[in-house]
Structure formats: structure tokens, C-alpha cells
Symmetry: C2
């Protein structure tokens, strides 16, 4: 399947990410529709040129017209949606997603999906602390990473289509990972960091600390403002990977604690030099 301008995109779930996809694709010139639960989000998106049209209903016509369907839903809602509504997909349609964990989603969807429709999973590593279509903005993809997560069931053409969506939307780097590699990586890079930020914020006891804070604390806890419904689901869907990454971190943290306690200055400096070198690799280009 080629990415020609007359293919139709359908976004299911018009929040921050769904809206940013929609706007980005529409800016390029694609026809973009949406199905989402709130009428006002559809109205806002139509009025602000984010989508061409949309519905709050499971509209067989809208679904049947779509060549590519992008799901931006919570994992369990996504699986139920496909189970209940897949009869409406156009034959030959490709569906993809933005879900933050893959093991608990990708195989489940591919197992239940009609044989004439292909699901190729993707994870756009972009977001904001504020949600909703009104905050959507394809600029969040700039400089960000986009991971395609194929399985043995996927065709090369669908994988490439999915990669092209990431490239078109302006992601800086488009990569492929297996489901298992992805979930391990995400447990470390994303879920563990959220656990740290939440734990840090929860153990703060002093009132009025914001009067004395520097940017280091602000940056580290930016993600402590967290959507508890979504993240608790993501954590539990990737529980064993997340727990083992939390254990890794705790070992490293305890090591530094012991070095400070023992006034082992050279040992502390060694860890700091290691972290400095490694962190150098992570700057945005």
C-alpha cells in the first residue's frame, strides 16, 4: 500500500495524541475522520480544521471508508472496540495504534482480528502533561522518537506504511522493535521515570517548597502530573518488566547511598562521571 494523498484516515479517540495525528495528517493533505465519545470534541475538531468530519457513534460508513485506522484509546477499550466493531472495517484496511505497552495489546488484537485487515502497532514517544483535543499539536512530534512494533504476522508493506506515517508526521527517528524489546525499553525509559517522579512528589512533606525550588526539581517532576487512570493501566499491563526495572534502579540508588554514607568520594565521582557520559547521548539533535 502506498501513501497516496487520497487514502482516508480514521482516528478513533480524539484526545491529545489522536488530535495531533489528525491535525498533522490533515495538514499534509489527507482526508481525516474521527470517532470519539464527546460531541464537543468532534465540533471543536471540525471547526478548527483538525478533521474533515466525525461522529460519536460507531458509524459503519465512516469506519468502512477508512483505509488506515489509528487507535488512540486506553488499552482495554481498544481491544473491546475491535472485538465489537471490526465487522465494519474495509477489507484490506490497515489499523495501527499509539498504545504505550505492547505485550498485552498486540497479540490480543492480532488474535481476534479479521484476516483481511492488518494491525501494525506503533508507539509515538510524545506527549504533554495536559490532555484533550484542544491541546493537540503535531509540533509535539518534532524531535521525538517513533517506534514500530511488528510481529511475525505483519507484512513488510504494512510495516513500511506505518513507518511512513511516523516520518510524515515529523518524528525525528523512526525505529523498529519487537514487542518484548519495546516493553522492556518502555519499562525503563518511560514507566520507571514516572514511578520515580510520583514517588518523589509523594514523599515531599514541607509546605511552601515551591518558593525555594530550582529547575532540577521542576524538570524531574514534570511528569509527576499524571493521568492516574491511564498510567495505572499501563503499569499493570507491563507489570513484570516494570518491577524488574524498578529493582535495577533501586540497586543503583542504594549503591550511591552507601557511597555517600561511607564518604567514598571517589566512588561517588565514578558514578557521576558514568552518568555524565551516558547522558550525553540523549540530547536532542
Amino acid at each position: 500500500m502506498k501513501l497516496i494523498k487520497d487514502i482516508n484516515f480514521l482516528i478513533v479517540g480524539l484526545g491529545l495524541l489522536g488530535g495531533s495525528y489528525a491535525k498533522g495528517l490533515k495538514n499534509i493533505g489527507f482526508k481525516v475522520s474521527a470517532i470519539t465519545k464527546n460531541e464537543e470534541d468532534i465540533e471543536y475538531a471540525v471547526n478548527n480544521n483538525i478533521i474533515d468530519y466525525g461522529s460519536t457513534e460507531i458509524d459503519p460508513k465512516i469506519i468502512g471508508e477508512a483505509d488506515v485506522v489509528i487507535f488512540a484509546l486506553y488499552p482495554h477499550i481498544f481491544i473491546d472496540w475491535v472485538k465489537n466493531n471490526q465487522q465494519h472495517f474495509k477489507s484490506g484496511a490497515v489499523i495501527t495504534d499509539v498504545t504505550g505497552v505492547k505485550g498485552s495489546v498486540v497479540y490480543a488484537i492480532q488474535d481476534i482480528l479479521r484476516e483481511d485487515v492488518e494491525f501494525i502497532s506503533a508507539h509515538p514517544m510524545a506527549g504533554k502533561e495536559i490532555s484533550g483535543v484542544k491541546n493537540s499539536d503535531p509540533a509535539i512530534f518534532k524531535g521525538a522518537n517513533y517506534i514500530v512494533v511488528p510481529t511475525e504476522k505483519n507484512t513488510e508493506s504494512a510495516i513500511e506504511l506505518c513507518e511512513n506515517i511516523g516520518k510524515m508526521l515529523g518524528f525525528q527517528r523512526v525505529s523498529r522493535l519487537s514487542v518484548e524489546e519495546h516493553d522492556k525499553m518502555i519499562a525503563f525509559l518511560s514507566q520507571l521515570t514516572h514511578c520515580i517522579a510520583v514517588s518523589l512528589m509523594c514523599c515531599a512533606d514541607t509546605e511552601g517548597m515551591e518558593k525555594y525550588t530550582g529547575d532540577s526539581f521542576r524538570d524531574l517532576t514534570r511528569i509527576a502530573r499524571i493521568n492516574d487512570e491511564m498510567w495505572s493501566e499501563l503499569f499493570l499491563n507491563n507489570k513484570s518488566d516494570l518491577l524488574s526495572q524498578m529493582e535495577r534502579f533501586r540497586t543503583s540508588f542504594d549503591e550511591l547511598y552507601d557511597k555517600i554514607k561511607n564518604s567514598d568520594r571517589e566512588g561517588m565521582r565514578e558514578m557521576m562521571r558514568c552518568s555524565t557520559v551516558r547522558r550525553g547521548l540523549f540530547d536532542k539533535e
Copy 2:
């Protein structure tokens, strides 16, 4: 002492912070000199209108002309410097600093200092991951916090002078804390966050992770690029406060770990909601 434009400032230690102070004060119209160890930093600062003049030597004339001396040195160098060179201070001079820990510095300096010179300590909560006078920029003070740390030995006029320096430089909020309050606060807000970032960076084992990372990991580890000489000294100078804050964090982190392990979704969500509310207080105005 009033802040009139004809008072002379001397900066000792012309790095990122010293240079940013110098530039900010000179922009306002003050006469600013500097003493620092590298000749090229003096040259750069003079050529770029950061200071009026400076020296790499302990120049009694430069020191004796200064009404206010700002020390931007490592703690132990600061104490030695005052011990060895305080005979050159002008009678009635006020000295201040930018040191990140206070308990191990403030009393030591006030104990050895001549009676006709006053030391009022301050902590500008601003910085960058890159150092040196060439990266200095008073814009780093914008929106940041500035803490004055007086003791019983300080006069109200020196405290106000010190507060006025913070206000003039453009800090958003100027506050006062006792030495003990400051060090406890800083152990939590600044040192603990650096410990977390370093530990996280050190436990990363997978190669090429930067290809898959999102902004949350980048933000959380920004400060993992760390000056090991300075921070190991700051950690050890505030060891007991830091260790107890590390223990607080670990208790909170373990609590979240247990909730995930037990699939206690409501317990996880409660911590996330707590962190979300608290983090809301920390946004810059």
C-alpha cells in the same frame, strides 16, 4: 548600606554563576571586577563587557576597592580564600556567596571573618549543565528562586542588601531561610534529585536507548550530566540531611513498588493523584 550605582562589586570565581552575576550587575550599571584563576576567562570577560577589569592574582587593590564581594567558588576553596586573604577586604565590605550548602560554610566563614566585614550567605537556585564564563547569562535567573540565609550574626541592612542583589538580578522570588532549613530543603529539592538522576543513568544497561526515548526520560536525567568534583563535595558537606532525604524517597518508591506488585490499582491511583496535585504548585508563574 544602600544600593547606589557607584558601589563596586568584585566577583571571585568567574564561572557560569560568577559570570552571570557579573554580566547582570554590569548591565544595571555597577562597576564589576573579578578575580579568577584563568587568564583567558578574564580576557573573555573584559572583551565581552562582562566585567570592567580583573586579575588572576590576589590583587590587594582590586579586593580593597570592592564594597561587595561575591564568592562563586567551591566550598573548601571559599573558606581557604577568606582565611588567607581577608586582610585585603575594605573595612565595612559585605561579602556574599552562591554556595549550594550552608551548614558547613556559613558558620566557618563567620567564625574566622574580621569583625569589620560582614558575610551574608545566599543561594541562587539557578544553573545550567554547561559551565564556564563563556556560557554565563543573567537570563538563567529569570523565573528562578533566590534564598538568603542569614544567621544571628547578620545585620538587617546586610540582609536587605543581599536580597536587593537577588531582586536586581531578576530572580522571581527572594526568600529567607535559616541555615538548617536551607540545608534540609536543598537536600530534598536539589541533592536528592541529582542522586536520582545519576542512579537512573548508571543503571541503564541497554545500548542505543537514546533512539527510543521520550521527553520524560530526557527531562528527568538532564541533571545526570553533573560536575563530579563539585557535587561530590556538596553531597558530603550535607551528608546527614541528604541521607535522610534519600531514605524518605526510598520509602515512597518502595510503597509504589508494592502497590504495583500487588496489583493495587486504587492505591497506585491515589499516589498518582497526590503527586499530580502537589506538582501543580511547582509550575513557574
